[in-house]
C-alpha cells in the first residue's frame, strides 16, 4: 500500500441562503446565536481574540484571524491535535446570500493524530457506519 505524501487538504461547504448577508453575519458572530447552530462560545468579533467552542464531547480552541463585517470571517480551529483555519465568506446574490465555509490545513499526519486516543471508539463506529452507508 502506498502512502500519500502529507499535504494540506480542505473541506468546503457552500449554500445559497435566502437571507441577506447582514442577517447571516449576526448568526455567525453573536455568541447567543452561534450557540444555537454551532456550539457554546465566547467569540468576540475582534482580530486576535482567543475563544473556544464547547460541546459535550470537548472543546475547540480558536483565535480570530480576519474580520470584514458582512463579508468575511476567519478563525483558527484547533481540536484533538488538529490545526486548521475556518473561513466564512458571504456574497450577496439577487435572492439572498451565497455562504461559503472553507476549513483548510488538514494534513495526513494530523489526521493520524486525530485518530488517537481522545476520539472514542463509539464515535469511531458511528463514523464507520456513515462511511459504509455512503458506499452502499
Amino acid at each position: 500500500m502506498s502512502k500519500p505524501a502529507p499535504e494540506p487538504r480542505s473541506v468546503i461547504v457552500e449554500r445559497e441562503i435566502p437571507f441577506p448577508p447582514e442577517k447571516i453575519w449576526r448568526a455567525l458572530t453573536q455568541p447567543h446565536l452561534i450557540e444555537e447552530w454551532l456550539m457554546k462560545t465566547d467569540f468576540k468579533p475582534v482580530v486576535g481574540h482567543r475563544f473556544d467552542f464547547r460541546a459535550d464531547w470537548g472543546s475547540v480552541d480558536c483565535q480570530v484571524l480576519t474580520i470584514e463585517p458582512n463579508k468575511t470571517l476567519s478563525y483558527t480551529w484547533a481540536a484533538y491535535g488538529l490545526e486548521s483555519v475556518v473561513t466564512w465568506t458571504l456574497t450577496p446574490t439577487s435572492t439572498g446570500t451565497h455562504l461559503r465555509m472553507e476549513q483548510s490545513g488538514f494534513r495526513q499526519d494530523q489526521q493520524q493524530a486525530y485518530q488517537g486516543a481522545k476520539y472514542g471508539w463509539q464515535r469511531f463506529f458511528a463514523n464507520l457506519e456513515q462511511v459504509l452507508a455512503r458506499t452502499e
Binding site: 500500500m1 487538504r9 480542505s10 473541506v11 461547504v13 449554500r15 441562503i17 437571507f19 442577517k23 447571516i24 449576526r26 448568526a27 446565536l33 444555537e36 447552530w37 454551532l38 488538529l82 455562504l99 465555509m101 476549513q103 488538514f106 494530523q110 489526521q111 493520524q112 486525530y114 485518530q115 471508539w121 469511531f124 463506529f125 463514523n127 464507520l128 456513515q130 462511511v131 459504509l132 458506499t135
Partner: protein
C-alpha cells in the same frame, strides 16, 4: 479506491460478520463459543466469518490452552477514516441548523 478499502468494505459489508466484529470491539476478546452464543448463526458459520475477518487483519486469534481468543484489531480500520469527509458531514449539519435559526430570527 485503493485495494485495502475494497477488502475492508467487502469484509464488513456482511451484517453478521460486521456484528461479530462490533461485538469484539465493544466487549473485548472472546472465544468462538461465546461469540456463537450471541451471533444467531452456527459455530462453523462464526468460525468462517472469523477467518474472513482475520484475512482482512480486522481480527486476531490468541491461543491459550485449548481455546482461541479472538480480538478486534482496530488499527486495520484506519484507512477508512477520512478526516475531510467527517468534517464535511459536520458542517453540512451545522449549515442546516444555521438555516433553521435564520428562519426563526427577527429581520
Amino acid at each position: 479506491m485503493p485495494n485495502v478499502h475494497n477488502v475492508l468494505f467487502r469484509t464488513l459489508a456482511d451484517p453478521t460478520r460486521r456484528a461479530i466484529f462490533e461485538r469484539l470491539c465493544r466487549d473485548g476478546e472472546q472465544t468462538v463459543k461465546a461469540l456463537t452464543a450471541r451471533a444467531g448463526v452456527s459455530q462453523p458459520a462464526v468460525s468462517k466469518h472469523l477467518g474472513v475477518l482475520k484475512l482482512a487483519r480486522l481480527v486476531r486469534g490468541r491461543h491459550e490452552g485449548r481455546q482461541t481468543y479472538y480480538s478486534a484489531q482496530l488499527a486495520a480500520l484506519a484507512p477508512l477514516i477520512d478526516w475531510t469527509s467527517q468534517m464535511a458531514g459536520f458542517w453540512q449539519g451545522r449549515f442546516d441548523k444555521l438555516e433553521d435559526l435564520l428562519r426563526r430570527m427577527d429581520q
